[in-house]
Protein backbone atom coordinates (compact mmCIF):
# COMPACT_ATOMS: atom_id res chain seq x y z
CA UNK A 1 0.00 0.00 0.00
CA UNK A 2 1.29 3.40 -0.92
CA UNK A 3 -0.09 6.35 0.90
CA UNK A 4 -0.77 9.14 -1.55
CA UNK A 5 -0.82 12.90 -1.18
CA UNK A 6 -4.32 13.33 0.13
CA UNK A 7 -4.14 10.44 2.59
CA UNK A 8 -0.75 11.69 3.69
CA UNK A 9 -2.21 15.09 4.31
CA UNK A 10 -5.12 13.59 6.18
CA UNK A 11 -2.78 11.66 8.46
CA UNK A 12 -0.81 14.78 9.34
CA UNK A 13 -4.10 16.56 9.94
CA UNK A 14 -5.25 13.82 12.30
CA UNK A 15 -1.98 13.76 14.24
CA UNK A 16 -2.26 17.49 14.84
CA UNK A 17 -5.94 17.09 15.71
CA UNK A 18 -4.95 14.48 18.28
CA UNK A 19 -2.39 16.81 19.86
CA UNK A 20 -4.97 19.59 19.95
CA UNK A 21 -7.52 17.19 21.42
CA UNK A 22 -5.13 16.35 24.28
CA UNK A 23 -4.63 20.06 24.99
CA UNK A 24 -8.37 20.72 24.88
CA UNK A 25 -9.04 17.79 27.24
CA UNK A 26 -6.51 19.27 29.68
CA UNK A 27 -8.25 22.63 29.49
CA UNK A 28 -11.64 20.97 29.90
CA UNK A 29 -10.47 19.46 33.18
CA UNK A 30 -9.25 22.84 34.38
CA UNK A 31 -11.89 25.19 33.04
CA UNK A 32 -14.87 23.14 31.85
CA UNK A 33 -15.09 21.08 35.01
CA UNK A 34 -13.37 23.02 37.76
CA UNK A 35 -13.58 26.60 36.52
CA UNK A 36 -9.84 27.33 36.67
CA UNK A 37 -9.15 30.20 34.30
CA UNK A 38 -5.88 29.09 32.66
CA UNK A 39 -4.87 31.30 29.75
CA UNK A 40 -1.28 30.17 29.74
CA UNK A 41 -1.76 26.85 27.94
CA UNK A 42 1.02 27.64 25.44
CA UNK A 43 3.46 27.95 28.34
CA UNK A 44 2.84 24.45 29.66
CA UNK A 45 2.83 23.16 26.08
CA UNK A 46 6.20 24.84 25.46
CA UNK A 47 7.73 23.44 28.65
CA UNK A 48 6.64 19.97 27.53
CA UNK A 49 8.02 20.41 24.02
CA UNK A 50 11.40 21.79 25.12
CA UNK A 51 11.81 19.30 27.95
CA UNK A 52 11.22 16.33 25.70
CA UNK A 53 13.47 17.81 23.01
CA UNK A 54 16.33 18.41 25.45
CA UNK A 55 16.01 14.94 26.96
CA UNK A 56 15.96 13.05 23.67
CA UNK A 57 18.23 14.89 21.21
CA UNK A 58 21.83 13.94 20.66
CA UNK A 59 24.51 16.17 22.10
CA UNK A 60 24.76 19.59 20.54
CA UNK A 61 26.87 22.66 21.37
CA UNK A 62 23.83 24.85 20.65
CA UNK A 63 21.66 23.99 23.60
CA UNK A 64 21.40 22.17 26.89
CA UNK A 65 20.98 18.46 26.83
CA UNK A 66 21.97 15.90 24.29
CA UNK A 67 21.03 13.11 26.60
CA UNK A 68 19.81 10.93 23.75
CA UNK A 69 17.19 9.29 25.93
CA UNK A 70 14.28 7.34 24.46
CA UNK A 71 11.05 8.96 23.26
CA UNK A 72 8.94 7.74 26.17
CA UNK A 73 11.39 9.19 28.72
CA UNK A 74 11.08 12.51 26.94
CA UNK A 75 7.28 12.41 27.08
CA UNK A 76 7.27 11.48 30.77
CA UNK A 77 9.76 14.25 31.53
CA UNK A 78 7.61 16.71 29.56
CA UNK A 79 4.55 15.92 31.66
CA UNK A 80 6.49 15.96 34.92
CA UNK A 81 8.17 19.34 34.43
CA UNK A 82 5.00 20.97 33.14
CA UNK A 83 3.13 19.67 36.19
CA UNK A 84 5.85 20.97 38.49
CA UNK A 85 5.60 24.46 37.02
CA UNK A 86 1.82 24.37 37.44
CA UNK A 87 2.36 23.46 41.09
CA UNK A 88 4.66 26.45 41.57
CA UNK A 89 2.17 28.75 39.84
CA UNK A 90 -0.64 27.32 41.94
CA UNK A 91 0.89 27.92 45.36
CA UNK A 92 0.48 31.70 45.36
CA UNK A 93 -2.50 32.00 43.02
CA UNK A 94 -5.01 29.26 43.83
CA UNK A 95 -6.04 30.78 47.14
CA UNK A 96 -7.11 33.88 45.27
CA UNK A 97 -10.28 34.26 43.24
CA UNK A 98 -10.53 33.36 39.55
CA UNK A 99 -9.09 36.30 37.66
CA UNK A 100 -5.76 36.27 39.45
CA UNK A 101 -5.00 32.81 38.12
CA UNK A 102 -5.74 34.06 34.62
CA UNK A 103 -3.27 36.94 34.96
CA UNK A 104 -0.64 34.70 36.54
CA UNK A 105 -0.90 31.98 33.90
CA UNK A 106 -0.69 34.36 30.93
CA UNK A 107 2.29 36.03 32.60
CA UNK A 108 4.01 32.71 33.19
CA UNK A 109 3.42 31.58 29.61
CA UNK A 110 4.99 34.74 28.21
CA UNK A 111 7.89 34.48 30.66
CA UNK A 112 8.52 30.91 29.57
CA UNK A 113 8.52 31.91 25.91
CA UNK A 114 10.95 34.76 26.60
CA UNK A 115 13.26 32.44 28.53
CA UNK A 116 13.37 30.04 25.58
CA UNK A 117 13.97 33.05 23.28
CA UNK A 118 16.81 34.59 25.26
CA UNK A 119 18.58 31.80 27.14
CA UNK A 120 20.56 30.39 24.25
CA UNK A 121 22.56 27.95 26.37
CA UNK A 122 19.27 26.28 27.22
CA UNK A 123 17.26 26.37 24.02
CA UNK A 124 19.42 27.84 21.24
CA UNK A 125 17.32 31.01 21.33
CA UNK A 126 15.25 32.02 18.34
CA UNK A 127 17.00 29.45 16.13
CA UNK A 128 15.29 26.72 18.12
CA UNK A 129 16.09 23.05 18.54
CA UNK A 130 16.36 20.87 15.47
CA UNK A 131 16.76 17.15 14.90
CA UNK A 132 14.35 16.05 17.59
CA UNK A 133 14.09 12.29 17.07
CA UNK A 134 10.84 10.43 16.62
CA UNK A 135 10.23 6.82 17.57
CA UNK A 136 11.28 4.48 14.73
CA UNK A 137 11.67 7.44 12.38
CA UNK A 138 14.91 6.03 10.96
CA UNK A 139 13.39 2.61 10.38
CA UNK A 140 10.01 3.39 8.88
CA UNK A 141 9.42 5.06 5.50
CA UNK A 142 8.13 8.61 5.84
CA UNK A 143 4.43 7.92 5.19
CA UNK A 144 4.29 4.89 7.41
CA UNK A 145 6.10 6.78 10.09
CA UNK A 146 3.32 9.38 10.14
CA UNK A 147 0.74 6.63 10.31
CA UNK A 148 2.63 5.05 13.19
CA UNK A 149 2.82 8.40 14.94
CA UNK A 150 -0.91 8.81 14.48
CA UNK A 151 -1.39 5.59 16.45
CA UNK A 152 0.86 6.88 19.23
CA UNK A 153 -0.98 10.21 19.37
CA UNK A 154 -4.36 8.47 19.34
CA UNK A 155 -3.20 6.24 22.18
CA UNK A 156 -2.19 9.24 24.32
CA UNK A 157 -5.40 11.11 23.45
CA UNK A 158 -7.42 8.01 24.34
CA UNK A 159 -5.56 7.66 27.62
CA UNK A 160 -6.18 11.32 28.51
CA UNK A 161 -9.84 10.93 27.55
CA UNK A 162 -10.38 7.81 29.62
CA UNK A 163 -8.50 9.21 32.60
CA UNK A 164 -10.50 12.45 32.75
CA UNK A 165 -13.78 10.69 31.97
CA UNK A 166 -13.26 8.16 34.74
CA UNK A 167 -12.17 10.73 37.30
CA UNK A 168 -15.02 12.99 36.31
CA UNK A 169 -17.75 10.44 36.88
CA UNK A 170 -16.58 9.88 40.40
CA UNK A 171 -16.94 11.75 43.67
CA UNK A 172 -13.67 13.52 42.77
CA UNK A 173 -15.28 15.06 39.70
CA UNK A 174 -18.32 15.95 41.77
CA UNK A 175 -16.13 18.00 44.12
CA UNK A 176 -14.48 19.75 41.16
CA UNK A 177 -17.86 20.72 39.72
CA UNK A 178 -18.94 21.93 43.15
CA UNK A 179 -15.90 24.20 43.25
CA UNK A 180 -16.83 25.54 39.81
CA UNK A 181 -20.40 26.25 40.93
CA UNK A 182 -19.66 27.71 44.35
CA UNK A 183 -16.31 27.67 46.09
CA UNK A 184 -17.70 28.81 49.44
CA UNK A 185 -20.26 26.05 49.41
CA UNK A 186 -17.57 23.48 48.67
CA UNK A 187 -15.54 24.68 51.64
CA UNK A 188 -18.62 24.79 53.88
CA UNK A 189 -19.26 21.13 53.11
CA UNK A 190 -15.81 20.08 54.15
CA UNK A 191 -13.94 20.04 50.87
CA UNK A 192 -10.36 21.32 50.89
CA UNK A 193 -10.83 23.66 47.93
CA UNK A 194 -7.15 24.59 47.57
CA UNK A 195 -6.08 20.95 47.50
CA UNK A 196 -8.60 19.96 44.83
CA UNK A 197 -7.82 23.00 42.67
CA UNK A 198 -4.12 22.19 42.89
CA UNK A 199 -4.70 18.57 41.87
CA UNK A 200 -6.71 19.76 38.91
CA UNK A 201 -4.27 22.47 37.80
CA UNK A 202 -1.31 20.10 37.99
CA UNK A 203 -3.08 17.18 36.29
CA UNK A 204 -4.23 19.46 33.47
CA UNK A 205 -0.71 20.84 33.07
CA UNK A 206 0.80 17.34 32.94
CA UNK A 207 -1.61 16.52 30.11
CA UNK A 208 -0.67 19.76 28.29
CA UNK A 209 3.02 19.04 28.76
CA UNK A 210 2.64 15.58 27.24
CA UNK A 211 0.92 17.19 24.25
CA UNK A 212 3.95 19.48 23.92
CA UNK A 213 6.29 16.49 23.89
CA UNK A 214 4.22 14.77 21.23
CA UNK A 215 4.28 17.91 19.11
CA UNK A 216 8.07 18.30 19.35
CA UNK A 217 8.73 14.70 18.29
CA UNK A 218 6.26 14.88 15.43
CA UNK A 219 7.48 18.13 13.87
CA UNK A 220 11.12 17.49 14.80
CA UNK A 221 11.84 21.19 15.22
CA UNK A 222 10.70 23.76 17.77
CA UNK A 223 11.40 27.44 18.23
CA UNK A 224 9.90 30.08 20.55
CA UNK A 225 7.87 31.47 17.65
CA UNK A 226 5.58 28.42 17.79
CA UNK A 227 4.56 29.11 21.37
CA UNK A 228 2.98 32.52 20.91
CA UNK A 229 -0.46 32.57 22.53
CA UNK A 230 -2.47 32.60 19.30
CA UNK A 231 -2.24 28.98 18.26
CA UNK A 232 -1.69 27.10 21.47
CA UNK A 233 -3.69 29.16 23.96
CA UNK A 234 -6.49 31.04 22.28
CA UNK A 235 -7.20 28.42 19.64
CA UNK A 236 -7.52 25.83 22.42
CA UNK A 237 -10.06 28.03 24.17
CA UNK A 238 -12.03 28.35 20.93
CA UNK A 239 -11.91 24.57 20.54
CA UNK A 240 -13.31 24.00 24.02
CA UNK A 241 -16.01 26.65 23.71
CA UNK A 242 -17.07 25.41 20.28
CA UNK A 243 -17.01 21.75 21.32
CA UNK A 244 -18.72 22.29 24.66
CA UNK A 245 -17.03 23.06 27.98
CA UNK A 246 -17.64 20.38 30.58
CA UNK A 247 -17.99 17.59 28.04
CA UNK A 248 -14.94 15.48 27.12
CA UNK A 249 -16.42 14.32 23.83
CA UNK A 250 -17.18 17.96 23.08
CA UNK A 251 -13.55 18.86 23.77
CA UNK A 252 -12.33 16.30 21.23
CA UNK A 253 -14.96 17.24 18.66
CA UNK A 254 -14.15 20.94 19.08
CA UNK A 255 -10.44 20.26 18.60
CA UNK A 256 -11.00 18.39 15.31
CA UNK A 257 -13.64 20.82 14.01
CA UNK A 258 -11.72 24.01 14.74
CA UNK A 259 -8.42 22.60 13.51
CA UNK A 260 -10.26 21.56 10.35
CA UNK A 261 -11.53 25.08 9.90
CA UNK A 262 -8.08 26.52 10.61
CA UNK A 263 -6.31 24.36 8.03
CA UNK A 264 -9.28 24.49 5.68
CA UNK A 265 -8.82 28.21 5.16
CA UNK A 266 -5.55 27.34 3.41
CA UNK A 267 -7.48 25.54 0.67
CA UNK A 268 -9.93 28.38 0.56
CA UNK A 269 -7.14 30.86 -0.05
CA UNK A 270 -5.78 28.70 -2.87
CA UNK A 271 -9.22 28.27 -4.39
CA UNK A 272 -9.97 31.97 -4.33
CA UNK A 273 -6.87 32.63 -6.48
CA UNK A 274 -6.23 35.87 -4.71
CA UNK A 275 -3.58 38.28 -5.84
CA UNK A 276 -0.23 37.84 -4.11
CA UNK A 277 -0.98 40.99 -2.20
CA UNK A 278 -3.91 39.27 -0.50
CA UNK A 279 -2.18 35.93 -0.18
CA UNK A 280 0.37 37.42 2.16
CA UNK A 281 -2.51 38.46 4.38
CA UNK A 282 -3.95 34.95 4.47
CA UNK A 283 -3.13 34.59 8.16
CA UNK A 284 -5.58 37.34 8.97
CA UNK A 285 -8.28 35.61 6.93
CA UNK A 286 -7.75 32.56 9.07
CA UNK A 287 -8.24 34.43 12.30
CA UNK A 288 -11.34 36.13 10.91
CA UNK A 289 -12.83 32.73 9.94
CA UNK A 290 -12.21 31.32 13.42
CA UNK A 291 -13.59 34.45 15.05
CA UNK A 292 -16.78 34.25 13.02
CA UNK A 293 -17.18 30.57 13.92
CA UNK A 294 -16.74 31.44 17.60
CA UNK A 295 -19.28 34.26 17.41
CA UNK A 296 -21.80 32.02 15.71
CA UNK A 297 -21.44 29.36 18.36
CA UNK A 298 -21.73 31.87 21.18
CA UNK A 299 -24.87 33.33 19.63
CA UNK A 300 -26.60 30.18 18.44
CA UNK A 301 -25.36 27.49 20.77
CA UNK A 302 -23.66 28.97 23.81
CA UNK A 303 -23.27 25.58 25.48
CA UNK A 304 -21.16 24.38 22.53
CA UNK A 305 -21.77 21.61 19.99
CA UNK A 306 -22.02 19.06 22.78
CA UNK A 307 -22.95 20.73 26.03
CA UNK A 308 -22.35 19.37 29.50
CA UNK A 309 -24.59 16.38 30.17
CA UNK A 310 -26.61 15.96 33.32
CA UNK A 311 -25.33 13.32 35.69
CA UNK A 312 -28.08 10.96 36.76
CA UNK A 313 -28.12 7.79 38.81
CA UNK A 314 -30.28 4.69 38.36
Amino acid sequence: MVIGGLEGYLIVFLVMSGIFAILTLGLNLQWGITGLFNIGIAGFFAVGAYTSAIITTVQSPDHLGGYGMPFITGILGAGALSGMIAWLVGIPTLRLKGDYLAIATIGIAETIRLIFTNESWLSNGTRGITGIPGPLREVLPHYYYNLFYLLITAAFAGLAFLFIERALHSPWGRVLRTIREDEMMAAATGKDVFHFKMQCLVTGAVIMGVAGGLYAHFIGFISPEVFKPMQFTFLIWVMLIVGGAGNNKGAVLGAVAVWGLWTGTEFLIDALELSTDYQTKAGALRIITISIALELILLLRPEGLLGETKKTFD
Binding site: W172, R174, R177, D182, A188
Partner: protein
Protein backbone atom coordinates in the same frame (compact mmCIF):
# COMPACT_ATOMS: atom_id res chain seq x y z
CA UNK B 1 -20.85 22.93 73.49
CA UNK B 2 -19.85 26.07 71.59
CA UNK B 3 -18.27 28.96 73.40
CA UNK B 4 -17.39 32.33 71.98
CA UNK B 5 -15.04 34.37 74.12
CA UNK B 6 -14.34 38.07 73.60
CA UNK B 7 -14.35 37.77 69.83
CA UNK B 8 -13.56 40.86 67.76
CA UNK B 9 -13.61 41.43 64.02
CA UNK B 10 -12.91 44.70 62.31
CA UNK B 11 -13.41 45.65 58.68
CA UNK B 12 -11.59 48.83 57.72
CA UNK B 13 -12.03 50.48 61.10
CA UNK B 14 -15.60 49.34 61.60
CA UNK B 15 -16.01 46.80 64.36
CA UNK B 16 -18.52 44.28 62.99
CA UNK B 17 -18.12 42.09 66.04
CA UNK B 18 -16.94 43.75 69.24
CA UNK B 19 -15.94 41.93 72.40
CA UNK B 20 -18.62 39.33 71.86
CA UNK B 21 -19.02 36.42 74.28
CA UNK B 22 -21.77 33.85 74.23
CA UNK B 23 -22.35 30.13 74.51
CA UNK B 24 -24.59 27.57 72.85
CA UNK B 25 -25.58 24.60 75.02
CA UNK B 26 -25.77 21.09 73.62
CA UNK B 27 -29.19 19.92 72.49
CA UNK B 28 -30.74 23.39 72.30
CA UNK B 29 -32.21 25.29 69.40
CA UNK B 30 -30.58 28.59 70.17
CA UNK B 31 -31.89 31.64 68.34
CA UNK B 32 -29.76 34.61 67.38
CA UNK B 33 -31.65 37.81 66.70
CA UNK B 34 -30.79 41.45 66.42
CA UNK B 35 -31.18 44.41 64.10
CA UNK B 36 -29.50 44.52 60.70
CA UNK B 37 -25.80 45.16 61.02
CA UNK B 38 -25.62 43.70 64.52
CA UNK B 39 -22.89 41.29 63.37
CA UNK B 40 -24.86 38.05 63.34
CA UNK B 41 -23.77 36.76 59.95
CA UNK B 42 -20.21 37.97 60.59
CA UNK B 43 -20.22 35.90 63.76
CA UNK B 44 -21.40 32.86 61.77
CA UNK B 45 -18.63 33.46 59.26
CA UNK B 46 -16.11 33.55 62.10
CA UNK B 47 -17.39 30.36 63.71
CA UNK B 48 -17.41 28.48 60.39
CA UNK B 49 -13.86 29.55 59.52
CA UNK B 50 -14.57 31.94 56.65
CA UNK B 51 -13.25 34.86 58.70
CA UNK B 52 -10.45 34.79 61.20
CA UNK B 53 -11.24 36.77 64.36
CA UNK B 54 -8.86 39.63 65.19
CA UNK B 55 -9.07 38.71 68.85
CA UNK B 56 -10.81 36.19 71.06
CA UNK B 57 -11.37 32.47 71.10
CA UNK B 58 -13.92 30.04 69.77
CA UNK B 59 -14.11 26.80 71.67
CA UNK B 60 -16.04 23.79 70.42
CA UNK B 61 -16.25 20.70 72.61
CA UNK B 62 -13.34 21.98 74.66
CA UNK B 63 -11.04 22.67 71.72
CA UNK B 64 -10.17 25.94 70.06
CA UNK B 65 -11.41 26.11 66.49
CA UNK B 66 -10.67 29.74 65.62
CA UNK B 67 -8.06 29.85 62.89
CA UNK B 68 -9.19 26.59 61.31
CA UNK B 69 -10.14 26.71 57.63
CA UNK B 70 -13.82 26.21 56.69
CA UNK B 71 -13.45 22.59 55.60
CA UNK B 72 -11.63 21.78 58.83
CA UNK B 73 -14.45 23.31 60.88
CA UNK B 74 -16.90 21.12 58.95
CA UNK B 75 -14.82 18.07 59.76
CA UNK B 76 -15.05 18.94 63.47
CA UNK B 77 -18.83 18.56 63.18
CA UNK B 78 -20.16 22.06 62.56
CA UNK B 79 -22.24 22.67 59.45
CA UNK B 80 -23.52 26.01 58.26
CA UNK B 81 -26.02 27.22 55.71
CA UNK B 82 -26.10 30.56 53.97
CA UNK B 83 -28.47 33.50 54.20
CA UNK B 84 -29.13 33.45 50.48
CA UNK B 85 -29.62 29.84 49.45
CA UNK B 86 -26.51 28.68 47.66
CA UNK B 87 -27.46 25.67 45.65
CA UNK B 88 -25.10 24.15 43.13
CA UNK B 89 -26.97 25.25 40.06
CA UNK B 90 -25.72 22.94 37.34
CA UNK B 91 -25.80 19.90 39.59
CA UNK B 92 -28.84 17.80 40.28
CA UNK B 93 -30.74 17.75 43.56
CA UNK B 94 -29.38 14.27 44.21
CA UNK B 95 -25.79 15.37 43.56
CA UNK B 96 -26.26 18.35 45.89
CA UNK B 97 -26.83 15.81 48.65
CA UNK B 98 -24.33 13.14 47.63
CA UNK B 99 -21.61 15.72 48.00
CA UNK B 100 -22.19 16.16 51.73
CA UNK B 101 -20.72 13.05 53.46
CA UNK B 102 -17.12 13.57 54.50
CA UNK B 103 -14.15 11.29 53.85
CA UNK B 104 -15.55 9.86 50.63
CA UNK B 105 -13.17 7.31 49.14
CA UNK B 106 -13.91 8.38 45.59
CA UNK B 107 -12.68 11.90 46.27
CA UNK B 108 -9.13 10.57 46.14
CA UNK B 109 -7.71 9.85 42.68
CA UNK B 110 -5.77 6.81 43.82
CA UNK B 111 -8.92 5.09 45.05
CA UNK B 112 -10.76 5.81 41.82
CA UNK B 113 -8.13 3.94 39.84
CA UNK B 114 -6.93 1.34 42.31
CA UNK B 115 -10.03 0.54 44.35
CA UNK B 116 -12.96 1.14 42.00
CA UNK B 117 -15.03 -1.54 43.73
CA UNK B 118 -14.71 0.13 47.12
CA UNK B 119 -15.55 3.51 45.63
CA UNK B 120 -18.64 2.10 43.92
CA UNK B 121 -19.88 0.41 47.09
CA UNK B 122 -19.56 3.57 49.14
CA UNK B 123 -21.11 5.63 46.35
CA UNK B 124 -24.12 3.32 46.36
CA UNK B 125 -24.53 3.65 50.12
CA UNK B 126 -24.37 7.43 49.83
CA UNK B 127 -26.91 7.37 47.00
CA UNK B 128 -29.34 5.24 49.04
CA UNK B 129 -29.02 7.59 52.00
CA UNK B 130 -29.57 10.64 49.77
CA UNK B 131 -32.68 9.04 48.27
CA UNK B 132 -34.06 8.34 51.74
CA UNK B 133 -33.44 11.95 52.76
CA UNK B 134 -35.17 13.24 49.62
CA UNK B 135 -38.09 10.96 50.38
CA UNK B 136 -38.24 12.45 53.88
CA UNK B 137 -38.26 16.11 52.79
CA UNK B 138 -40.59 15.26 49.90
CA UNK B 139 -38.26 16.35 47.12
CA UNK B 140 -37.85 12.87 45.67
CA UNK B 141 -39.71 13.70 42.46
CA UNK B 142 -37.09 16.37 41.73
CA UNK B 143 -34.06 14.14 42.28
CA UNK B 144 -32.64 14.56 38.78
CA UNK B 145 -33.61 18.20 38.37
CA UNK B 146 -30.88 20.86 38.29
CA UNK B 147 -30.95 22.67 41.63
CA UNK B 148 -31.13 25.98 39.76
CA UNK B 149 -34.68 25.11 38.67
CA UNK B 150 -36.05 24.75 42.21
CA UNK B 151 -38.37 27.33 43.77
CA UNK B 152 -37.18 29.30 46.81
CA UNK B 153 -39.17 27.07 49.12
CA UNK B 154 -37.78 23.92 47.55
CA UNK B 155 -34.27 25.33 47.90
CA UNK B 156 -34.89 25.83 51.62
CA UNK B 157 -36.03 22.22 51.88
CA UNK B 158 -32.90 21.17 50.02
CA UNK B 159 -30.93 23.02 52.68
CA UNK B 160 -32.63 20.97 55.40
CA UNK B 161 -31.93 17.87 53.35
CA UNK B 162 -28.25 18.79 53.29
CA UNK B 163 -28.29 19.02 57.09
CA UNK B 164 -29.94 15.60 57.27
CA UNK B 165 -27.31 14.22 54.95
CA UNK B 166 -24.44 15.37 57.14
CA UNK B 167 -23.41 13.91 60.45
CA UNK B 168 -22.75 17.37 61.91
CA UNK B 169 -23.59 17.69 65.60
CA UNK B 170 -24.01 21.43 65.42
CA UNK B 171 -25.86 23.25 62.68
CA UNK B 172 -25.66 26.99 62.03
CA UNK B 173 -28.67 28.15 60.03
CA UNK B 174 -28.57 31.66 58.57
CA UNK B 175 -32.17 32.80 58.14
CA UNK B 176 -33.80 29.49 57.27
CA UNK B 177 -37.19 31.20 57.06
CA UNK B 178 -36.32 34.03 54.65
CA UNK B 179 -38.63 34.16 51.65
CA UNK B 180 -40.63 31.12 52.70
CA UNK B 181 -44.46 31.05 52.92
CA UNK B 182 -46.30 30.20 56.14
CA UNK B 183 -47.13 26.61 55.27
CA UNK B 184 -43.57 25.75 54.35
CA UNK B 185 -42.30 27.65 57.37
CA UNK B 186 -44.27 25.29 59.60
CA UNK B 187 -42.77 22.34 57.77
CA UNK B 188 -39.24 23.72 58.17
CA UNK B 189 -39.80 24.29 61.88
CA UNK B 190 -41.10 20.72 62.28
CA UNK B 191 -38.02 19.38 60.55
CA UNK B 192 -35.70 21.40 62.76
CA UNK B 193 -37.53 20.19 65.90
CA UNK B 194 -37.32 16.59 64.75
CA UNK B 195 -33.60 16.88 64.03
CA UNK B 196 -33.09 18.54 67.39
CA UNK B 197 -34.91 15.69 69.12
CA UNK B 198 -32.54 13.39 67.26
CA UNK B 199 -29.63 14.94 69.12
CA UNK B 200 -28.43 17.83 66.98
CA UNK B 201 -27.79 21.29 68.30
CA UNK B 202 -29.04 24.29 66.31
CA UNK B 203 -27.85 27.85 66.34
CA UNK B 204 -29.94 29.97 64.03
CA UNK B 205 -30.24 33.54 62.85
CA UNK B 206 -33.81 34.51 62.06
CA UNK B 207 -35.83 37.67 61.53
CA UNK B 208 -39.26 36.04 61.60
CA UNK B 209 -40.15 36.59 65.28
CA UNK B 210 -43.03 34.10 65.25
CA UNK B 211 -40.66 31.40 64.12
CA UNK B 212 -38.01 32.38 66.68
CA UNK B 213 -40.50 32.55 69.55
CA UNK B 214 -42.06 29.19 68.76
CA UNK B 215 -38.87 27.33 67.93
CA UNK B 216 -35.93 28.71 69.89
CA UNK B 217 -34.97 28.49 73.52
CA UNK B 218 -32.88 30.29 74.55
CA UNK B 219 -32.79 33.39 72.37
CA UNK B 220 -29.63 35.50 72.21
CA UNK B 221 -29.91 39.13 71.16
CA UNK B 222 -27.00 40.84 69.41
CA UNK B 223 -26.65 44.54 68.90
CA UNK B 224 -23.72 46.62 67.64
CA UNK B 225 -21.44 43.63 67.41
CA UNK B 226 -21.92 42.19 70.83
CA UNK B 227 -24.36 40.23 72.97
CA UNK B 228 -27.05 42.42 74.42
CA UNK B 229 -28.97 39.84 76.39
CA UNK B 230 -30.06 36.23 76.47
CA UNK B 231 -33.13 34.52 77.83
CA UNK B 232 -36.30 32.54 77.31
CA UNK B 233 -38.30 33.77 74.32
CA UNK B 234 -41.15 35.13 76.44
CA UNK B 235 -38.70 37.19 78.53
CA UNK B 236 -36.92 38.51 75.46
CA UNK B 237 -40.26 39.63 74.07
CA UNK B 238 -40.84 41.77 77.14
CA UNK B 239 -37.30 43.14 77.39
CA UNK B 240 -37.35 46.86 76.67
CA UNK B 241 -33.62 46.93 75.80
CA UNK B 242 -34.29 44.59 72.89
CA UNK B 243 -37.02 46.85 71.59
CA UNK B 244 -34.69 49.83 71.91
CA UNK B 245 -31.97 48.02 69.97
CA UNK B 246 -34.37 47.33 67.12
CA UNK B 247 -35.78 50.82 67.09
CA UNK B 248 -32.33 52.35 67.45
CA UNK B 249 -33.30 54.48 70.46
Amino acid sequence: MLEIKNVEKEFGGIKAVHDCSLAVREGTITGLIGPNGAGKTTLFNIISGFYRPDRGEIIYRGERIDGLRPHEVYHRGIMRTFQITRELQKMTVLENLMLIPKNQKGEKLRHIFFDPGGVRRQENEIKEKALAVLEFVELISLRDEYAANLSTGQKKLLEIARVLMSDADMVLLDEPGAGVNKTLLGKLADNIRRLSAGGRTFFLIEHDMDLVMSLCDPVIVMSEGTKLTEGRPEDIRKDMRVLDAYLGV
